[in-house]
């Protein structure tokens, strides 16, 4: 085996951090709804891809700046998240059934995407696509850097929201024990709607980042599920910063596996990590 050059290793480290931040961004909404609403929302991935395709459409056909599309997508996704939570609480869905229902939703959204945009690969052309700059001998692509910045900003502000504001404290109380929180005057039903809307919005933002740097196809929805779940489990359910840190750890581990061994072995790292975490930390979930 040839040992790769330091530049290549550095570049791998960097791309690991970048993809890891996308894992973290996707995991943020997932972690919030799992940890605080007790829902395992598989549809989060489908939503992110729907967001990505919408960004693609608005940018490539509508000629909008990709970042500005969020002005349309974010409110629409927020409304969708609220609607979903309303449905879940109306039918009092158990955590496990939420997994099945959101899988049904995933399949429907996937079919919708395939129907509108076909199963062909799509890649968004945007002003940001080609932008990159150089630090020393390392290339830094702008779309990926944007993803990192967005992921860090959203994770930190969600953390601050939950930690320091009255709203966030009420949310945490409602997550801990909805009945008791309600007895102390917290409108837990409305907070749950808000939280679910927020999680769906995060899916939309993650979709934007997906569209910025990745080639899209409907079947890709399933490719992200395992590794992002791994990041969420390792990072801790309901923890807004954990998925980002865990995501970056996984991303770097995968990138190093690709550079040192072979790209095809990379999935082994994330799923072995997930299995390990489930076996050792299951008691704390």
């Amino acid at each position: 085996m040839n040992f790769p050059s330091w530049t290549l290793l550095g570049q791998s480290l960097l791309s690991g951090i970048f993809i890891g931040s996308l894992y973290g961004l996707l995991g943020l909404g997932l972690s919030l709804s799992w940890g605080m609403l007790r829902q395992i929302n598989l549809a989060h991935f489908a939503l992110a891809f729907l967001g990505a395709y919408l960004t693609f459409q608005l940018t490539s056909v509508g000629g909008m700046d990709p970042l500005l599309t969020l002005g349309l997508i974010a409110p629409a996704f927020f409304a969708f998240g609220v609607l979903m939570q309303w449905l879940f609480s109306r039918f009092s869905i158990s955590p496990f059934n939420s997994l099945l229902v959101t899988f049904g939703l995933t399949v429907i959204i996937e079919s919708l995407i395939q129907w509108i945009w076909t199963a062909d690969y799509r890649k968004m052309d945007s002003v940001y696509g080609e932008m990159k700059f150089k630090i020393g001998s390392l290339y830094v692509p702008l779309p990926e850097l944007l993803t990192l910045i967005i992921a860090v900003t959203l994770s930190l502000s969600t953390w601050a929201l939950l930690r320091y504001t009255d709203l966030g404290k009420a949310m945490r109380a409602a997550a801990e024990d909805p009945q008791i929180a309600a007895a102390f005057g917290v409108n837990e039903k409305r907070l749950a709607l808000l939280l679910s809307g927020l999680a769906a919005t995060f899916a939309g933002v993650a979709g934007l980042c997906l569209a910025l740097s990745y080639t899209l196809s409907p079947s890709q929805i399933y490719a992200w599920i395992g590794v992002v779940f791994a990041a969420v489990m390792i990072g801790g359910l309901g923890n807004p910063i954990g998925p980002l840190i865990a995501g970056i750890v996984i991303g770097v581990a995968e990138a190093m596996t690709m550079a040192l061994i072979s790209p095809a072995w990379a999935p082994l790292v994330s799923f072995s990590l997930l299995i390990l975490v489930l076996l050792t930390r299951a008691d704390k979930v």
């Binding site: 997994l99 229902v101 791994a230 799923f271 489930l278």
Partner: protein
């Protein structure tokens, strides 16, 4: 004439076996083969996941293991196709049992975490297969492999193999459904800890069910490899296989042996119809929609929704069987002989010392009252004796045998039964089934028929005979407390542990319960009971033991012990004189 289910399976199977002789186009045989294959997958999945509630998302891994076993053995080692099928089953079963042996040891790895873990196993396996010579990234073609000419055409041969597997799988699922194994698995589904405490060897049962489930999926995979004749990692280990299987079973009903087969037939026909009509995308969307609608409006599935009504009608007619002659716990005279001796028992929960070197002795035939303030360790002591928690140090000797550290089901089989302070009945089993289970799995270890009449006896005894066919959810608290008692008694225990049976009852109900406990003692049982209702303690106990902060602070005759200053201090505080 009424036919039994196996007779029906055989009859339908014989009928379907004649299909290849009608000379239909191969297209029909292939369509039916796909349904058979789906039936095998969904039904085999249901043996573990439907019966015991451990929803696996890894069924694709075991199906895939079977596919690659057959693909490798036939194409690379030129082993005849039929010989590879048992190998496919064995490899898949070994894989499943290997995973289960680790995972089933962890109490918390249930529900969604088990689903995630099995999904992760699928992806790990896929990565390994893809990167080793098993596949190598190119896929494995089986076009050169000869199919044995069981029937004239290849499609007929595969049709018959698929049919045979479907019938075998249904027969196995049906047999387990009726067997002791099935009863145990359904109890695990509702409350695994309680099932274990009632004597169900939960770990072994889950492993057996998982192994069988995987073996059947593996063989189906072996046949399917030949059917598609080109095996690739992407198609085999996709998340679509387990999700379809879950969908089929949930649609048909996971609590019935035939449910998954019904769901498999409906979904496969539906998907095929859409694909044939050139709307495969719409077909997938329809499947997604069906899943949502079923979960929201029919969480028990098609059969779960419609079968109980039929069975309810049939049950009414059997309910009239006369109660068997009174079986009783071992009739033993009260004596000074020790039945249970606990020495220096300690247990800490992350820093909180719940029990701190407690010594307790229980004599054969007595009623021992266990009292003390909240948090003094009474319930922990009950949990330790029944084997729910592992002890930190000390010993528990029951009838001369050290039972400390034994799994709870072995403790139950040795003759220790308990009730729960907050009743924990198996929610989906009828009251009669709830009481039958410990009679089958506990010390009595009766067959199903004998266990049922035993259960009816104790339902009569506790005044629940009228409610035999009701679900526990329909009982009030008083009745659920008595259901706990009936369950404990039905195992014919030598030692009965009662954890606050009186709490939450009205004064009239308490008097009734006291009378009942006295009758149980008169039958010769040894009883340890934890209680806060002091007048009941004073009235019933031969001796009492007072616990405080996990230590025994007093022990002896009730009137005498309760007058001791240290006991009064614990209950009422120090006098300021």
């Amino acid at each position: 004439m009424k036919l039994s289910a196996p007779a029906w399976i055989a009859l339908v199977g014989l009928g379907l076996a004649t299909v290849p002789f009608f000379g239909l186009p191969a297209f029909y045989e292939s369509f039916l083969y796909l349904i058979f294959s789906a039936i095998v997958l969904a039904t085999s999945w249901n043996i573990l996941s439907g019966y015991s509630g451990y929803f696996s998302f890894g069924h694709g891994a075991f199906f895939g293991a079977g596919m690659y076993t057959t693909a490798t053995l036939t194409s690379k080692f030129e082993i005849p196709f039929l010989w590879t099928l048992p190998a496919a089953g064995i490899i898949a079963a070994l894989l499943g049992v290997g995973v289960g042996a680790v995972v089933f040891r962890l109490r918390r790895l249930r529900g969604e975490l088990f689903a995630l873990l099995t999904l992760a196993v699928t992806f790990v396996l896929a990565t390994i297969v893809l990167n080793t010579p098993i596949d190598g990234g190119q896929g494995v073609p089986l076009t050169a492999v000869t199919l044995p000419a069981i029937l004239s055409s290849p499609s007929s041969t595969l049709y018959v193999l698929g049919l045979a597997m479907a019938l075998l799988t249904l027969w196995i699922a049906y047999s387990i459904y009726l067997a002791k194994l099935g009863t145990g698995l359904f109890a695990i589904h509702d409350d695994e800890d309680v099932a274990e405490v009632m004597g169900v060897p939960t770990y072994r049962y889950k492993l057996i069910a998982f192994g069988l489930s995987c073996a059947l999926a593996g063989v189906a995979g072996g046949i399917h490899a030949m059917f598609i004749s080109y095996v690739t990692v992407g198609e085999t280990f996709s998340i679509i296989v387990p999700l379809n299987v879950v969908l089929m079973s949930v649609l048909g009903g996971t609590r019935h042996w035939l449910g998954p087969a019904v769901g498999a037939t409906v979904i496969t026909a539906l998907l095929y119809g859409f694909t044939a009509g050139d709307y495969p995308v719409a077909g997938r969307a329809a499947v997604g929609l069906i899943l949502i609608v079923v979960i929201l409006f029919m969480p028990e599935g098609l059969l779960g929704r419609f079968i109980p009504r039929l069975e309810g009608r049939r049950r009414k007619t059997t309910a009239a069987t006369p109660v068997a002659a009174a079986p009783a716990p071992d009739a033993v005279q009260a004596s000074s002989e020790t039945l249970l001796r606990i020495n220096g028992l300690s247990k800490a929960f992350s820093g909180v010392q719940a029990l701190d070197g407690a010594d307790v002795e229980v004599r054969r035939g007595e009623i021992l009252g266990l009292v003390g303030p909240n948090g003094s360790g009474k319930s922990t002591l009950i949990n330790m004796i029944s084997g729910h928690f592992r002890l930190d140090s000390g010993s528990i000797v029951f009838d001369g045998v050290d039972i400390a550290g034994l799994p709870a089901h072995r403790v139950a089989q040795a003759g220790i039964a308990r009730t729960y302070q907050i009743p924990r009945p198996f929610a989906h089993l009828s009251v009669l089934q709830n009481v039958t289970l410990p009679a089958m799995f506990g010390r009595a270890a009766l067959g199903r028929g004998a266990a049922e009449s035993e259960a009816r006896y104790w339902l009569e005894f506790t005044g629940l005979a009228e409610k035999a066919d009701a679900l526990p959810g329909e009982l009030n608290l008083h009745q659920r407390k008595f259901l706990e008692l009936a369950r404990a008694l039905a195992s014919r225990p030598r030692l009965l542990l009662l954890d606050e049976v009186l709490s939450g009852l009205t004064p009239a109900e308490i008097d009734h319960a006291i009378a009942t406990i006295r009758t149980i003692r008169d039958l010769g049982a040894t009883i340890v009971f934890v209680e806060h209702v002091m007048h009941a303690v004073m009235e019933l106990s031969d001796r009492i033991v007072v616990l405080n902060y996990g230590k025994v602070i007093a022990e002896g005759k009730p009137e005498e012990v309760m007058r001791r200053p240290e006991v009064v201090t614990v209950y009422l505080g120090k006098p300021h004189a």
